[in-house]
Amino acid sequence: MAQEKEESALYEKDGEKYYVVDGHVHFWNASPENWVEGQEEYAKGWIECFYAYHELGPPEWHWSMEKYQKYSEEDMMKDLFEEGYVDKAIFLPTNLREWYKDGFNTTEANAVLAEKYPDKFILNTTFDPREGSEGLKVFEEKVNRYGCKGVKLYTAEWMNDSKGWTLADPEAEPYLEKCMELGVTNIHVHKGPTIWPLTKDAFDVKDVDVAATNFPGLTFIIEHVGLPRIEDFCFMATQEPNVWGGLSVVLGALMHSRPRFFARVMGELLFWVGEDKLTFSSDYALWSPKWILEGFVDWDYPEGHEFDDFPRLSTEGKKKILGLNAARLYDIEVPAELQVAATA
């Protein structure tokens, strides 16, 4: 551990040092060789959709589509750890095996890097309650094999005739109980830009409310803070101490392209959720952490009275969001000099 900390490019600005956890990263393969035959349009459409989000970042950070479809291990290590100031990165898998032969970004693909660089990555897995007791067994095996402390869940994913599931379903209960038993305490839930299900509102966060109440020992991190239903997320997170927000799309898609709205959204999040329950992430390779991190450390509300009622964000608050909060969730050891008083 000590050795790894010396290798990291520590982020230091105006005499302040930051411990950085990138709370949401991918190692995906969306290149045409990996597209499932007959599903090419979906596979292509998916990565093009990601690419549009990518282009909301600063132009000097735009990649070519070819690189965006498939980037190398070297790219990732450089963008995160050499140039991006990241101390630890958390892998969250997105399988999408219906469209991508080897999957889009699977636990297995992530594990190759996580096992090669154990000091750098935290590996998470996933489960789907509709797979019943068989799935539960597979989930437990993966947790035991990879030592996961978290999962990434997609409640809107289809399976056969089912158009999604919810965390409040009876089928989800044994899985959440298993999470408690195995110490998989970080439940990352994708409630953000998505496609399915068709009729229901796929962004509905009510089910998280139920699960968070029933499982106070688990922390539910709502990735993308429920965008585009940020208000529903805020009203819920303010009542549930174990509901947090992951900032990836807010930072990557709004901070550069819509600074005033970014400020309003941040203001709302700070008001309702608070600086102790928000986590930074780049969603790499949606975006690269370097510009987001630098921008966020320098960030303050723009001129204008519309921001007057929002809580201010201090350097301490930024330190929490950039790494100390996630370090708490994942028991990451942070050197004393990088702590702030409240979380030490």
């Binding site: 349009e41 979906y42 459409g45 998916w46 093009e48 959709c49 549009a52 989000y53 282009e55 909301l56 005739d161 158009k163 830009p193 998505t194 496609i195 299900p197 068709l198 009729t199 229901k200 509102d201 796929a202 965008l227 585009p228 239903r229 940020i230 208000e231 805020c234 009203f235 898609a253 709004l254 392209s257 819509r258 600074p259 005033r260 709205f261 309003r264 959204v265 203001g267 709302e268 309702w272 204008g304 519309e306």
Partner: protein, 232 residues
């Protein structure tokens, strides 16, 4: 009578993206418009290939209905371009099949009206907050607002939009009706008005923020000029 282009566009401007609460014409979702005798053809485009198909369906269906309401329009064809469900949506709307029958086996009944209802309520709350904010800027307190009637507010465009949303929900729009009510039409009291407006302001941030995100994505996707950020 051949329908006039301006009239047709005006009719389209009455169609809103339910999630973003803005006209599809302002959002630049109308990609093309052709009028040939009594036949109007419109193509729509959206910010991403995977924009939620339920909302997409609503917009295509609403656009077609708006076109058919214009004098002289005998036939209206609305197609959605570059979307993963273009075929189903276009066939469904123009063939009058309805949402559930356009996606056989993929939906659980026609619940689009329910979805639309949820967003009409959000839109109502957001427009009310905008109106209240402008009244507060003019020197009124939130408590004053809780005591006001509709007839006491100035009739500007912010007010008009609020009235529109109110009547969509079937809430009383007569001059004597209380100005600040919840989406069920229940009056907000002096005791709860501050909290009510605080919630409402988050709803407004959400709707407006989504519109900003979506217009940004549309600009990137089609290489069109992005709009400037509005200041509140």
């Amino acid at each position: 009578m051949i329908p006039n282009r301006a009239t047709v566009l005006d009719a389209l401007s009455g169609v809103r993206d339910p999630e973003l609460d803005e006209p599809i014409t302002d959002l630049k979702f109308v990609a093309s418009l052709e009028i040939e005798d009594g036949t109007v053809s419109v193509s729509l485009r959206l910010p991403t290939y995977y924009c939620a198909p339920n909302f997409a369906y609503l917009m295509v269906a609403d656009a077609r209905e708006a076109l058919l309401s214009v004098d002289g329009v005998e036939e209206a064809r609305v197609v959605l371009d570059d979307h993963y469900a273009s075929r189903e949506i276009n066939g469904g709307v123009n063939g009058g099949r309805g949402f559930a029958r356009s996606f056989p086996g993929q939906t659980e009944g026609d619940t689009l009206d329910e979805l639309r209802g949820i967003f009409r309520r959000k839109s109502f709350v957001s427009r009310q907050e905008q109106l209240c904010r402008s009244l507060i800027r003019e020197g009124r307190s939130p408590q004053d607002l809780a005591g006001m009637r509709l007839g006491e507010a100035r009739e500007d465009s912010t007010f008009e939009k609020y009235l529109e949303r109110r009547s969509e929900l079937g809430i009383d729009t007569s001059p004597d009706a209380p100005l600040v009510v919840d989406p069920d039409g229940k009056r907000i009291t002096r005791a709860t008005v501050v909290e009510h407006l605080r919630f409402a302001s988050t709803v407004r941030t959400s709707l407006e923020g989504n519109a900003e995100l979506c217009t940004g994505l549309l600009a990137v996707r089609y290489g069109i000029t992005d709009r400037e950020e509005e200041t509140a």
